[in-house]
């Protein structure tokens, strides 16, 4: 059994002269839910397309379930579910016919799961695709990605256009999927509270590189905002482990990646000042990392 479901090594990809991914390294453990974050244009969609085999990196290697996605056979594709950012479903087809059509392309298509998802998401299957709301169209895409029970699911902005209730149902479904066995879910999103609810690993992409890739718990435990105050003289310069550093009114406010919990105390002792540690939400952490 391969321990990593997804491996990206030293991958570069550009569009024309615009570099998008710059020697990207990323691994996703089998059985995890990986939340993939980044600002618009940071290269999330490019990365997911490469993982789905819809493009080829200029340098480096990619492996999904031990195979190069560019060389996926039809059989390999059965094991990888993919929801694209801009899905293109046939507008005039009835949802029911579309699902029926797709089910015949996948030997492992799980009819029961498909019915369950339709009921859970309350998708009107007797309507044409074009008559559905954007959110329901998205859910049809999610059903198409999940019903063949793939071992790896790649979802590019699955929750875009979903209302809060549909989003919660979708997230619960993702959790059920993981609970049921050795599946891996890789999804990009801007909705950070979704990541906080379900993901165990988080990656933040900025300037074509992965700035952070670790468990959400350890990220929250090691990235802290620290306020240093009561300096005997001027506030010090930004230390190397700080993502952000602001000095005002003789105080310094930094977002620090802590190598160990005692680091703020050690810095404060060094500067002969006092300090206060502030917990950060994923959104705070993301903004500080993506902005720098």
């Amino acid at each position: 059994m391969n321990e990593n479901a997804i491996t990206i090594r030293d991958v570069t990809r550009s569009y024309g002269k615009t570099p998008v991914l710059d020697r990207l390294d990323l691994t996703v453990k089998a059985g995890s839910i990986y939340g993939f974050l980044g600002r618009n244009g940071s290269g999330k969609t490019t990365t997911i397309k490469l993982l789905a085999g819809l493009g080829r990196p200029e340098t480096g290697e990619i492996s999904v379930l031990g195979r190069d996605p560019w060389a996926f056979t039809a059989e390999d594709r059965q094991g990888v579910g993919y929801l694209s950012e801009k899905q293109n479903l046939p507008p005039l087809m009835k949802v029911k016919s579309l699902l029926d059509f797709c089910s015949r392309l996948y030997p492992q298509w799980d009819r029961e799961l498909c019915e369950g998802l339709i009921a859970r998401f309350q998708v009107p299957v007797n309507k044409r695709v074009s008559a559905l709301s954007m959110g329901n169209q998205r859910l049809v895409g999610v059903i198409l990605a999940l019903a063949p029970r793939p071992a790896v699911v790649l979802l590019d902005e699955p929750a875009a256009n979903l209302d809060p209730v549909a989003r919660r149902e979708f997230l619960d479904e993702i959790l059920d999927l993981i609970r049921d066995g050795d599946r891996t879910v890789f999804f990009s999103t801007h909705i950070l509270s979704d990541v906080e609810r379900v993901a165990d690993e988080v990656g933040i992409l900025a300037q074509g590189k992965l700035r952070v890739s670790e468990s959400l718990d350890s990220l929250k435990e090691t990235v802290k905002r620290v306020r240093f105050f009561g300096f005997p003289g001027n506030a010090p310069e930004r230390p190397p482990q700080a993502f952000g550093w602001r000095v005002r009114d003789g105080e310094a406010l930094g977002t620090l990646k802590l190598a160990h919990p005692g680091e703020p105390a050690a810095l404060a002792a060094n500067w002969k000042c006092q300090y206060e540690i502030i917990d950060l939400s994923l959104e705070d952490i993301f903004v500080d990392i993506a902005r720098n």
Partner: protein, 133 residues
């Protein structure tokens, strides 16, 4: 088991769950020998990643608060005093430090804080709150 978790808080989810389970064990809401829900059940119930629940159970087990009986499940330990005093003190130290810092900010005296702590001991653990070592 009703547990309130706040995914967007700066406190990691596992720590929120850990603290609430510890509180329930400490206050006797879950009794020694009582079975906890399985990782699967609790993660489905709380709608969170099963790895988060598994991690919390591992920590509780390492700290001697629960026991895992193979093939049967996770149970609240009969006696909880497995860690040496020094280790237990150390575990509490960062929380106390934060408490004292807050108290200083709020200009509460040491005596007032001690009184507050005593009241919480009384509420959570009425039988053993009388100045034990």
């Amino acid at each position: 088991m009703f547990i309130a978790l706040h995914p967007s808080s700066g406190v990691p989810l596992y720590l929120q769950l850990l603290n609430q389970l510890k509180e329930r064990i400490a206050s006797g809401q879950v009794k020694p020998g009582e079975q906890l829900p399985s990782v699967r059940e609790l993660s489905a119930d709380l709608k969170i990643n099963p790895l988060t629940v598994a991690k919390v159970y591992q920590i509780l087990e390492r700290e001697g608060l629960v026991e895992t009986r193979r093939g049967m499940g996770t149970f609240v330990a009969q006696k909880v005093d497995t860690l040496p005093v020094a280790a237990r003190r150390q575990a509490l130290d960062p929380v106390v430090r934060q408490l004292v810092a807050e108290a200083i900010h709020l200009r509460l005296s040491e005596a007032e804080v001690v009184e507050l702590i005593a009241r919480h001991f009384q509420q959570l653990n009425p039988r053993n709150s009388s100045n034990e070592p």
